[in-house]
Amino acid sequence: MVLLGSIIAAGAWRYDVGVGLTQIALTVASAILAQLFFDRLAGQRSRSIRSPLVTSLSISILLRATSLWMYPAVAVAAIGSKYIIRVRGKHLFNPSCFGVIFALSLFPGVWVSPGQWGAGVAIAGWIVAAGAIVTARAASADISASFVVLYSAGLTARVLWYGQRWAVLIHQMSNGALLLFAFFMLSDPKTIPDSRRGRTVHAAAVAAIALILQFWLYANNALLWALFLAAPAVTIWNARWPAPQFTWNSEGENECAVQQM
């Protein structure tokens, strides 16, 4: 969490990513309020605010909008998706991914700037290291690792096929947006398959869809769309390879808490 916050800070001040404090405050506040509201509506005890915090910070990092009001709207949509789009008692979409795709599809004046994180040595190493620690704590490190391995394998194959220089691969791999996606978004423990095998298959699906969208269809925001499109299949992987389900712990001390389905 602290690390995510640091990335926003580093992004805003060092890399001029265009993240403003008002925007972060609005997004975070509306996400938390939306979570409290939906919890009450669903008759649930209010849970940890950690999940809406991660969601809203991710939205703040990723989404660019010409108007400030879009951030709270997207945050509410993202949190709302957790309560509305549910399959077998589990929400289907990664809320921040859903929020961003929702905004890109429906709102005017929003966009995602994948290149804004640059390809600097420092930022890549830093985000990866930070992300690794965070995901290792959240017990979902394996999906990030599988994704990075599979996606980079795809990129390597492409570089070999095209006869490009290795510098191209290095450049593509050291994109901050890719690392941010792999370690902070894809690894959301609530929306990935419960079993390790399921997670690997899910990672492969996301990597494959992303590569196709990006290099074959030349689509923008391929990673986000890949995660969005691959999400429904998670229910299949969970049915096929059942395993205990992750839950955010409200005390926030043991992030590794699991709950039997």
């Binding site: 890399y15 001029d16 660019r64 010409t66 005017p108 004046g109 929003v110 966009w111 700037s113 994948p114 290149g115 804004q116 994180w117 640059g118 390809a119 600097g120 040595v121 890549a124 190493g125 990866v128 290291a129 992300g131 690794a132 620690i133 290792a136 704590r137 017990a139 490190a141 690792a145 990075v148 980079s152 096929w161 095209y162 006869g163 490009q164 220089r165 290795w166 510098a167 191209v168 691969l169 290095i170 450049h171 593509q172 791999m173 050291s174 994109n175 269809l217 030349y218 923008n220 395993a243 205990p244 992750f246 043991n254 590794c256 699991v258």
Partner: protein, 461 residues
């Protein structure tokens, strides 16, 4: 599910970190980028290119200009293009329109008169103008028998250019074909051509038809424009460094309907703007801006693309040059304008009453980059954002108020603080350019020992 132990976490972090480190340290492969393939030993250095990309949906009009100043018979241009182009898809542009576009979007200086420090006198502002940049030229290639998988898809003359559209199945074959046809290809050409061939791209090869050139009476080369449809919003820059003797300069002007354009695989950074700098810059702005750009590129690790201008083509404020007319925009390839008829769906009335004004739904983005194989290994990939906010690179000069200290008490304070403000502007210029502060102070006629006053000085008195 087993909770990871600290050791697990450490191991995982180290493994990931190792992947990152291996991924990050590149072997510095030699490569080249750009647009030109030279013939013989002419001075083929390609330092600066200007490219206009007009894009809407997947329809693209690409116009290329370079600063080539050598012997026209010795030069050729090779551009990878996504489709085989027909004669109707190629057009020779008007240099004047390109110059106008450049002047309209150029980084600018504005000058303001300091308002009187005394009450009841109103400030008066006036705008200066930016400078236009030089333009360039291109040139020559020939054909030979089909060999080694090279196929001549089309061949025609347009204006002063003899054009051949080639498709190739192997890079060695293409390189051989070019060599056999008299083009001296730098070493490594095949390796640079290979990715484009694999990607199914075709090659547009143009040389100057000297007879046509003489007949036209031109002593420079006009821009070449192609119109095509492709899902790829990109610009091939790797061939451009074929003849490069150092880092290349590229300015890309994009004209789109909804919002500014940015690169998706490199960082797009706005140039610092709105900063006050010393008045002596007025007579030397070209050099000063060049130094600012060089310094900004350096502190951004030489791998950022700079936005110098984003503006709705309908107006400007202040104007370095008037906005382009509808006819000029059409000349550049803006195809969605239709008839010059006010019932256009996007024909909002022009701002500021320019006659024959452009409609407001054309957004110009001016991107500027300095690239080398090490810092820009991949071609530029773009996206049009939904950001239609205007932006301009602008530096500010202040003309001091020249009243007497006796006019009012505030005048004394104003005059007293003047040198402090000038010192601050000198510091600004030092920060922008990386130049030595003392030298700037000297040129600005200030005592180098004068330092900006600490903020708290004079707070209570």
């Amino acid at each position: 599910m087993r909770c990871p132990t600290n050791v697990d976490r450490l191991k995982f972090s180290l493994v990931i970190f190792a992947i990152a480190i291996t991924a990050i340290y590149p072997g510095r492969a030699a490569a080249f980028c750009g647009f030109y393939v030279g013939k013989a030993d002419a001075s083929l250095h390609n330092h600066s290119s200007k490219v206009v990309i007009v894009r809407h949906d997947e329809k693209t009009v690409l116009s290329i200009m370079s600063d080539y100043q050598g012997d026209l018979s010795q030069f050729a241009m090779v551009v990878p293009v996504p489709v085989v182009l027909t004669r109707e898809q190629i057009h020779i542009g008007d240099v004047e329109v390109f110059k106008h576009l450049d002047a309209y979007s150029a980084p600018r200086l504005v000058e303001y008169d300091d308002p009187s420090p005394c009450p009841m006198m109103f400030p008066r502002a006036e705008a200066g103008a930016g400078a236009a940049m030089p333009f360039g030229a291109q040139s020559s290639v020939s054909s030979s028998a089909k060999a080694l998988g090279v196929e001549i898809k089309a061949r025609f003359t347009v204006g002063e250019y003899d054009i051949v559209i080639l498709s190739a199945s192997q890079s060695d074959g293409l390189e051989t074909w070019l060599v056999e046809n008299g083009y001296r290809i730098p070493k490594g050409a095949a390796a640079a051509l290979e990715p484009y061939i694999r990607d199914g791209m075709k090659f547009f090869v143009a040389k100057v038809n000297l007879k046509a050139q003489t007949k036209l009476g031109l002593n420079y080369l006009r821009p070449i424009q192609f119109a095509f449809e492709s899902s790829k919003f990109m610009l091939p820059i790797r061939l451009g460094m074929l003849n490069a003797s150092g880092p290349q300069e590229l300015t890309v002007y994009t004209l789109t309907e909804n919002g500014r354009v940015e690169t998706t695989n490199y960082r797009t950074v706005r140039m610092p703007t709105g900063i006050s700098i010393p008045n002596y810059v007025r007579d030397d702005f070209d050099n000063v801006y060049s130094a600012i750009f060089t310094h900004q590129a350096k502190i951004n690790d030489m791998n950022a693309v700079f936005t110098e201008y984003t503006w709705n083509m309908g107006w400007c404020d202040p104007c370095a040059a008037p906005p382009l007319s509808r006819d000029e925009l059409r000349e550049l390839g803006v195809f969605w304008l239709g008839d010059p008829n006010p019932t256009q769906p996007f024909g909002a009335p022009p701002a500021f009453g320019y006659s024959q004004m452009a409609p407001t739904q054309v957004i110009l983005t001016r991107l500027h980059l300095r690239y080398s194989p090490a810092t820009f290994p991949e071609d530029l990939m773009f996206q049009e954002t939904n950001d239609a906010q205007n932006f301009q690179t602008r530096y500010v000069l202040h003309r001091a108020w020249s009243g007497s200290p006796e006019v009012c008490p505030a005048a004394t304070t104003y005059l007293h603080d003047l040198d402090q403000r000038r010192a601050k502007r000198a510091q600004n210029l030092a920060d922008l350019t990386g130049w030595d502060l003392n030298e700037i102070m000297r040129r600005a006629g200030l005592n180098p020992s004068l330092k900006p006053r600490p903020w708290w000085q004079g707070l209570w008195n």
